[in-house]
């Protein structure tokens, strides 16, 4: 079986994997099979076991099979069944024939349907992430679902299914095309450079794809040499277990992983499980010493408990995070796996959290907000914005560096400085933070001590608004200026949002805040798990912060826009002489 990407038309439309209809119809097939088996169960038992085990049975008048056999219609019945199967196969084949996709210069497109044609389109410059999803069945069959997430409501192109190898190639192509289109339209110098590198690499080795496909190219060549069954089985097994880590990232060692022991420990020590565990023990004790009815609560609680533990375990198993050429790649999953690749610069906020019971071990969890995700996309297979299920401080630092723009731009010296300050922010005193007001204990409880806010690396705001900074400096400030908020007592957290991504800034005075002279400042981001709000600030402080933040946001975003325009103009000037 060859998995080469073969265009079916001259416009670059390609077909999906031939097994796709089977898998897409998999659920229906299972249901039908289930009904058939349930109906035939008695008959099969009767057939397999001697009479005395089954016992006397009243003849079932309404049994369809008896009816068919009695009337001698068995041949016709079989023909009907065969015809139905052929019809289903034919229509599946037809729908497969008509289901195509392509990566055009400005969008990923999908066409399907015979009578009712459907055309879905994901514009390249709006792509937020590209995910490879493999359910257990899909993994066994060696196929993969490719999800292309875009910003906005319901914007998603799902290619179900492609061969695993092909899926990886398609992902690379989409990400590359997306980076190129962004560089063309409004991209940064960095992206531009990266695209040029990729293009150069392509020109050097035209038939070889970058990064991920590399190690498979090798395997494919060996597989082709033998073309025996064992070779393809071996490849299938290797695909099944493949963690989908970027080859370059593996070489460079820029990789974050989570060992199983730590994962299990972290799951049982998180609030999500500690609270049900306490309730469970409570109901057990109540059942023993008080009323036996309390045992009735135990079983559903146990189910909830086990279910939650398992789903977390499943999500965190084999977790890897790496920086691939154009983005951050996160993968995990025990039975079903999901690998998500988020292009750089699409991350709107990052948050590290540490539940109380994790503190002795120094563990943290990191989540992100990206524009592509919405609450509607539940599903157990989603990583749900997790970029680190559990890790030490060093891992958190690495993740922050990977995920935040400009994190790795600085030299080693400034990098070490950044790391030290980030460490202080995570679990230290939080130097330079503006703390909560004196009476904020009323609204923040024990969290008052840690609560704090800082606008980091913001460009000069006051007088110099007219004087344009040098491009390089502006770029650095644009990438690095962040709003940072520390919070919590029972669960400590540090949230960071690049100012370029802020949608609006809000100052709020709810009733209790108002009564004791406090206010709350919030920066709005796109929908996601990270909430950039600092409550319990003194009113004066809050107003000052609001002014500074609003000004900094406007400034940083204006810089970004100006720089983009300039880039575009420069590129156009360069293009003309050629």
């Amino acid at each position: 079986m060859t998995e080469a990407v073969e265009p079916v038309t001259d416009e670059g439309w390609r077909r999906l994997h031939p097994l796709s209809p089977l898998l897409r119809g998999g659920l229906v097939l299972l249901v039908v099979g289930g009904i058939v088996i349930a109906n035939l169960r008695d008959r099969i038992i009767e057939f397999l076991l001697p009479e005395e085990f089954v016992g006397e049975q009243a003849p079932n008048e309404s049994d369809l099979i008896d009816f068919v056999v009695d009337r001698g219609l068995i041949i016709i019945a079989l023909l009907v069944v065969l015809g139905a199967i052929l019809l289903v196969v034919f229509f599946s084949w037809l729908s497969w024939r008509f289901h195509t996709f392509r990566i055009s210069p400005d969008a990923v497109e999908e066409r399907s349907g015979i009578v009712f044609r459907q055309h879905r389109r994901a514009p390249l410059e709006r792509i937020q992430s590209v995910n490879l999803q493999r359910s257990l069945l899909a993994r066994i069959l060696g196929v993969t679902q490719v999800d292309v997430q875009t910003a906005g409501q319901g914007g998603k192109v799902a290619l179900r299914y492609l061969g695993y190898q092909q899926a990886k190639e398609v992902r690379e192509q989409i990400l590359r095309a997306s980076a190129r289109s962004r560089a063309r339209d409004a991209g940064s110098a960095e992206e531009d450079r990266r695209v040029h590198e990729v293009v150069a690499a392509e020109e050097l080795a035209p038939d070889r794809l970058t990064g991920a496909a590399e190690d498979f190219a090798r395997e494919r060549s060996t597989g082709r040499a033998e073309t025996g069954l064992p070779a393809s089985l071996d490849r299938r097994a290797r695909e099944f277990a493949d963690l989908d880590i970027d080859a370059e990232a593996r070489r460079a060692g820029s990789l974050v992983q989570v060992p199983v022991g730590r994962l299990i420990g972290s799951i049982f020590l998180s609030w999500d499980l500690l609270i049900p565990a306490v309730l469970l023990i409570g109901s057990l004790i109540a059942g023993i010493v008080w009323v036996p009815y309390a045992f009735g609560l135990t079983i559903p609680m146990l189910l909830v408990f086990v279910g939650m533990a398992y789903s977390q375990f499943n999500r965190g198993w084999g977790f890897t995070l790496s920086r691939s050429g154009d983005g951050v790649r996160v993968g995990a999953g025990l039975t079903a796996t999901n690998t998500e690749t988020v292009p750089l610069g699409r991350i709107h906020a990052v948050e590290a959290r540490q539940p109380l019971a994790w503190r002795p071990f120094g563990w943290w969890r990191v989540r992100i907000t990206t524009a592509g995700h919405s609450v509607a996309q539940g599903g157990q297979n989603r990583l749900q914005n997790l970029v680190l299920p559990v890790g030490f401080e060093a891992d958190v630092l690495r993740v922050f560096e990977t995920v935040l723009p400009g994190g790795d731009a600085g030299s080693d010296e400034s990098g070490a400085e950044d790391r030290a300050s980030l460490r202080d922010e995570l679990s230290g005193a939080g130097a330079g933070y503006l703390g909560a007001g004196r009476r904020a204990g009323w609204v923040l409880w024990f969290g008052r001590r840690r609560a704090g806010l800082r606008i980091a690396d913001a460009p000069g705001i006051a007088g110099e608004s007219g004087a344009a900074l040098e491009t390089a400096a502006a770029e650095a400030s644009e990438a690095r200026a962040t709003l940072r908020i520390r919070r919590g007592a029972l669960t400590r957290s540090l949230s960071v949002m690049p100012l370029v991504r802020a949608q609006s800034v809000q100052l709020r005075r709810p009733l209790v805040h108002r009564m004791i002279g406090l206010a709350s400042v919030q920066a709005h981001t796109v929908l996601g798990p990270v909430r950039m709000e600092m409550r319990g600030l003194r009113l004066d402080d809050a107003r000052g912060v609001f002014d500074r933040l609003a000004a900094a946001v406007v400034r940083v975003q204006a810089d970004e826009t100006a720089r983009r325009l300039e880039e575009r103009e420069r590129r156009e000037r360069n293009r003309e002489p050629r």
Binding site: V505, R514, G544, V553
Partner: protein
């Protein structure tokens, strides 16, 4: 911006007359039409009416005599809603906006005061909507949409012509300062 930290706290009296010096720094807030208060009042009175009718129906048609706290509770709820309705004028006066150089500053609320700054580049959509009530008064509501669902800024009760010119102006501003998501 250290001088911002030193200015006096806005006293309730200042907040009452709707012109605190923060954050507008002397620029007057643009107000929405006072006529909008009547629409607000009408809607709230409608709510009071509905609650009153339901409570009366319950009291009249109940088989057994309800315990004393039920009618008392209903009366309290109705009274609170009535106060809320009468505050309509005050509430509408608290709505204000300023078009600053680079962002739209917006405020509303007396009890739950909110001040929001939206950079023009972040405005994705500006909508003019008119319900039947507002149309009768010749008003319109201006809705602002950013990529964040929580921004939630809308400016109710602008005269139609003003709403439309404001929309055009904001769309222009947003267009020239558009930044990526």
């Amino acid at each position: 911006m250290d001088e911002q930290g030193t200015h006096e706290d806005a006293t309730p009296a200042e907040a009452e007359d709707g012109a605190p010096e923060w954050p507008n720094r002397g620029t007057a807030w643009q107000r929405v039409s006072p006529k909008y208060a009547w629409a607000d009042l009408a809607l709230n009175l409608l709510l009071v009416g509905i609650v009153a009718v339901i409570s009366l129906a319950i009291l009249l048609f109940a088989d057994a005599k309800p315990p004393a706290f039920v009618p008392v509770g209903m009366a309290v709820v109705a009274a609170l809603l009535l106060v809320n309705a009468v505050l309509a004028f005050r509430r509408v006066r608290a709505i204000g906006y300023i078009l600053r150089d680079d962002d739209l500053l917006f405020r509303r609320g007396i009890m739950f005061e909110r001040v929001i700054a939206v950079p023009y580049g972040r405005l994705q959509m500006v909508d003019v909507t008119r319900g039947p009530l507002l149309r009768a008064l010749g008003l319109a509501t201006l809705k602002f949409v950013t990529a964040s669902a929580t921004t939630g800024v809308n400016l109710p009760g602008l005269p139609l012509a003003e709403a439309e010119s404001l929309r055009d102006r904001l769309v222009d501003l947003a267009e020239t300062r558009r930044s990526g998501l």
